[in-house]
Symmetry: C2
Subunit: 468 residues, 2 copies
Amino acid sequence: MTKPSKDTLSRMIAVVGERNAITDAADMARYMKDWRNHYPGVSPLVVRPGSTEEVSRIVAIAHDTGTAIVPQSGNTGLVGGSTTSADGTQVLLSLDRMQRIIEVDATDYTITVEAGAILQNIQQAAEQADRLFPLSLAAQGMCRIGGNLSTNAGGLNVLAYGSARDLCLGLEVVLSDGRIWNGLRKLRKDNTGYDLRDIFIGSEGTLGIITAAVLKLFPRPRAYETAFVAVPSPQAAVDLLAITKDLSGNRAVAFELMPQICLDFTEKHTACRNPLATRSPWYVLTELADTPNGTFERIFEAAVERKLASDAVIAQSEAQRQAMWDIREQMPDTQRLEGGSIKGDISVPVSRIAQYIEEATRGVLDYMPAARVLAFGHMGDGNLHVNVSQPVGAIEEEFLGHWDAITAITHGVALKLQGSISAEHGMGRMKRDKMRAIKSPVEFEMMRNLKRLFDPKGILNPGKVLPE
Amino acid sequence: MTKPSKDTLSRMIAVVGERNAITDAADMARYMKDWRNHYPGVSPLVVRPGSTEEVSRIVAIAHDTGTAIVPQSGNTGLVGGSTTSADGTQVLLSLDRMQRIIEVDATDYTITVEAGAILQNIQQAAEQADRLFPLSLAAQGMCRIGGNLSTNAGGLNVLAYGSARDLCLGLEVVLSDGRIWNGLRKLRKDNTGYDLRDIFIGSEGTLGIITAAVLKLFPRPRAYETAFVAVPSPQAAVDLLAITKDLSGNRAVAFELMPQICLDFTEKHTACRNPLATRSPWYVLTELADTPNGTFERIFEAAVERKLASDAVIAQSEAQRQAMWDIREQMPDTQRLEGGSIKGDISVPVSRIAQYIEEATRGVLDYMPAARVLAFGHMGDGNLHVNVSQPVGAIEEEFLGHWDAITAITHGVALKLQGSISAEHGMGRMKRDKMRAIKSPVEFEMMRNLKRLFDPKGILNPGKVLPE
């Protein structure tokens, strides 16, 4: 790719007007830096369209001139998927002005939104109609639904409600030649031809730019049972999950695993405290929605009988419930306060969680005996964040130099167990070069062919998902 | 397409052995006739591979020689999607020997099966592991999972569990050049690149041949509340659905609407009886899973207060429950006994169900005042089967001559209300020629391009889904 000409940039600016175009480096700084600041970009232009029509016209200019476009919504991704390259050749298209909640339909249990709508605003709009939009993740105050859909975001409630893909009924997408595909359907069932929607969801802006969506809503749970449980081992947690699903009639909406070291970090750096008197090698935070009173007690009794749990506490108030969730939510921050942290986002079949943790931990400790392995997260989905904190007293920079080596270990075990090296964060730039290694030739070829079909000029988010 | 040569057929027969190849017209009759006998085929060969490897080798020969292949599993489809053309050019590949349940994993809540596994056998294998595979439809004793996935089958429990697409974690597919894509993953979350699985699901065998799948299992509900409710109107049923979702905490697993005329047919032709003393213009059959005792009573009280229901009965035994379901399940048969029936399978946003029924009924009666309109089915999903029975005393053949005209009316109203003309049955041959009319040019082009990408020689199930 070459740098877009002055004329190309002027044409794009003319679409949105000067006030919605940023060309000054200082003013565009926040669009150029990714969340973890691993992939800072340089761009000649940030363009902020206010409508699908404007997105369409900008992309048509890009198509016409062979200009690379990087779509960005909330810019909270963790794999460098939404910032430009550093060579100044790529125009950044921000969807942050397209924030409208277009319609909430309580009867249809749907909400229609523009791609730049902030996740939390969608949740709140649903709540005002006495409905639930269940997608829930740490960045919800900043991330935008276009990015959530483009990355098939996961989060805390996938166990019950699925990932972003499962929550979407219809999409509007601007294609690489600037044409608009209006697939904004509210239908629960539609078998008229190929499933185009799911091609764009999870494609990280490389096949088309999502501009609006129809999302599913659900009844709002009237009551939760939230419990913090001490379990002896990851395998006990896996068995507890099966019991929980079964005895709750599949009403578990969250099932998070965490080791003692996560609580050590939390207690050291925050006001959060272990709600149990017991100290345990592992804990589960689980939440049941709309279950008959006493459901968790029955689950716990069955678990104790099978020696799968040693202690548990149920939140008796919304404040207690929130305190339990705070422990979980503080984890990324507390890890930052313990120095360098090498991040992982793997999944395996749920039945292999224990084997995964054992082998990955052993592998990391064989490599670096003083490293601190924190394997925690959405165990109910087979998804763990395997974050490795630096040894106490180590030098952060030096430790982070081991990123590739340690990641090779944590990824290697996931692949050996038929797992995934990106459960919910996507490939972005961080993992794109691993695609050839993790995919069979036939699968890799299908993906490359899809990219060529939907973006023959290679102008949509180049260098993301697939290797260049 | 030209007829395959003797040599091509011999090569295919050699893959499976003589005993698994049928060339005699009488012996292949059951593979040639579709369920409604609208699209009988003629073929030089029915080939019955016993493994994915054999499917792969047959398709490679087809690719090599430009021979058309029609995949067929249970052959219970209603749109002519799984039979060959009548010109003797297409080889039928039956998956009926590939019936294995490969693995049931109660911990992972997954079941891995070959494409020819009969749906009911999958349900039973799940049940033996104390798990539920929720896909449930009239043909379950005969249909096979490969066809269920290829057509994204719906059925009775979509409301709670989704369509076949939503129940699938992983796929194995033989591509049009004979290569095998092994995507048999058991992962709940995997964001490594584009979603290939959903391209094949619902593509009716035109983009690849599904040979195996990993499916999701669920906890088996321990108890059901099944109720038969008299409602004054379709709009009352829509409002009752919202109340039911809300007050049951989303535990409604079925919500079927039916008009009085459906019960008239049933009572006339079967031993089934209306379980209510009340005669009502409309009825709802709904089922709640694992709800606290008295949940349906609370729903009914709220409904009566809002004049949304006039009477209801809850099944007090499994026999009573089955009797209620029998009424629903007898409908296709009883319609057959009333003469010609012109079938529809539409969906609209749930909030537009009442408007749909009113306008479609009026449209049909304006066209043919003595026609009998039966709009019934999966209302919880916005999906109705709008079947039009012939006027009493009419001549069946003559009546069926109105198929296109009446379908144009029932489809037209669905399209006007942003609905679908094929909610769950697919396009097959019956509806392929409507694709251009119902899709925007950009959507049609994307579908045609996908077909060209995945099947450049056009050998996979030609003449289905898209116009020739």
